[in-house]
């Protein structure tokens, strides 16, 4: 197992951002974390790397290759074995040429050659190497990020919302590069709000609602409603424009228990009053009392 996370709880001030979060990534696996905007996905990425602001408190266990990820190990691995592909252009130095940023300031021939190769691979002209970040389009910026992640051979790539602002084909293209990186042997965690994009490329999808995991399932299970088990995941499926575009009423509730208890047909009294545990059915993990399967220790 490349990356294991367990019992992760992230709080900012009084607010719970993530509650009892867990995650496993194997090598060659692309895991997509899907949730509505503002559900704390970016903060999760930042807390793996350790760049959260001070007011954010993260507790839980993060293991990398079986060892607990301490500050010491982190500082050794960040930037070469573990890389973050950030959300937007503001993460590039506006006053430095793109090529130099990808090469991380190293000017020797070996590195420059590698930069050239990577740029060619991702369909960018050589002239882009000497351009400044403001001259790049959205899609190009993402590709520059990918190039700079691939300068070393990363084992774990964390991509934070790689697609907003890109039109569909471009987004598809960017995401397909993540697929390639995973196929090359790295583990990829892709954080996104675009479920359809995740379905088309990821192996495993984690569905987040209000800071809690609702269901972890294989991407191909989204082909049909019947292989999905949680009320919320089913609702997501039904709301897709190509699957009927159904109008589903769900409003944020802050009560204990299942947030969908008042809408779900299967729900009973304990759905409202009890803390809901996770159940494992086939390869899916579901936070629902009536999905069937056996109880998990998460």
């Amino acid at each position: 197992m490349l990356l294991e996370m367990e019992h992760i709880t992230i709080t900012a001030g009084q607010k719970n951002i993530l509650k009892n979060f867990f995650l496993n990534i194997k090598e060659k696996e692309l895991v997509a974390l899907v949730g509505a905007s503002g559900s704390g996905k970016s903060i999760l990425a930042h807390s793996i790397i350790g760049i959260t602001p001070e007011s954010v408190i993260c507790s839980g266990v993060i293991k990398y290759k079986g060892n607990i990820l301490t500050e010491e190990i982190k500082s050794k691995l960040l930037g070469n074995e573990i890389v973050l592909i950030p959300q937007n252009t503001s993460y590039l130095d506006p006053l430095m040429k793109v090529g130099m940023q990808v090469a991380k300031g190293k000017k020797d021939k070996k590195h420059l050659q590698k930069v050239k190769e990577l740029f060619q691979k991702y369909n960018m002209e050589h002239s882009v190497i000497n351009q400044y970040p403001f001259m790049l389009s959205g899609g190009m910026t993402r590709r520059v990020f990918i190039c700079s992640a691939l300068m070393e051979t990363p084992k774990l790539v964390i991509a934070d919302e790689p697609t907003p602002g890109l039109h569909k084909e471009m987004a598809q293209k960017v995401v397909s590069h993540f697929r390639e990186i995973a196929d090359m042997g790295a583990g990829v965690l892709m954080i996104t709000h675009d479920l359809e994009l995740a379905i088309s490329t990821a192996d495993k999808i984690i569905v987040l609602y209000n800071g809690e995991i609702m269901e972890v399932t294989k991407a191909e299970n989204f082909k049909s409603e019947h292989t999905l088990y949680h009320y919320y995941t089913k609702a997501l499926w039904k709301a897709m424009p190509k699957n009927g575009f159904q109008n589903i009423t769900i409003y944020r509730t802050n009560e204990k228990g299942c947030p969908f208890a008042q809408y779900c047909k299967k729900s009973k009294k304990q759905c409202i009053t009890d803390e809901i545990p996770y159940f494992k059915k086939e390869e899916s993990i579901i936070k629902c009392l009536f999905a069937g399967g056996e109880k998990q220790c998460y």
Partner: protein, 199 residues
Amino acid sequence: MLLEAKNVFFRYDKKGRWILENISFTMDNTQRIGIIAPSGFGKTTLCKLLSGYIKPTSGSILLNGTPLSQKGYCPVQMIWQHPDLAVNPKLIMKEVLAEGNDISKEIISALGIQQQWLYRFPNTLSGGELQRFCIARALGKGTQFLLADEITTMLDLITQSQIWHFLLQEIEKRKIGLLVVSHDIDLLKQVTTEQIYLK
């Protein structure tokens, strides 16, 4: 009711690149039109022109044959892609809604806006919740055309479908014309009656 663009050219400064060149187009208030175009085409610029935020460099935008008035309530309302930029961070949501032209209570409740949200500041609400307010605000009395520029791109699927179902119902009832800009062809097929592919 007829919204027309006649030979519209637009660029931001003299000698700059033309963002839009010779665009002509007509729609009436019973139509729902979807626009699909590659990024960088100037779709947002087109929306801003049609709703009077900016003036064309040459050509004209006409509503029922007369140019859009710069004063008073504009009958062509645009809903923006980023709701967080379209509301003042220092006003509570109640005040934001009050800017709309006499928004009926039915609209507010049909959009699922909860009473307690009204007394919150924008930065305590999610993008989906904010977008509901922006939509309500654009649906005041006197709105005849609605321009939706990627209004659900940043939102999750369930919020997306909720918002669109409401919008379709409302514009049907009030005979409002709808122009939708989106990258999502499946979505456009669901919410519009005809789609225009621009290249």
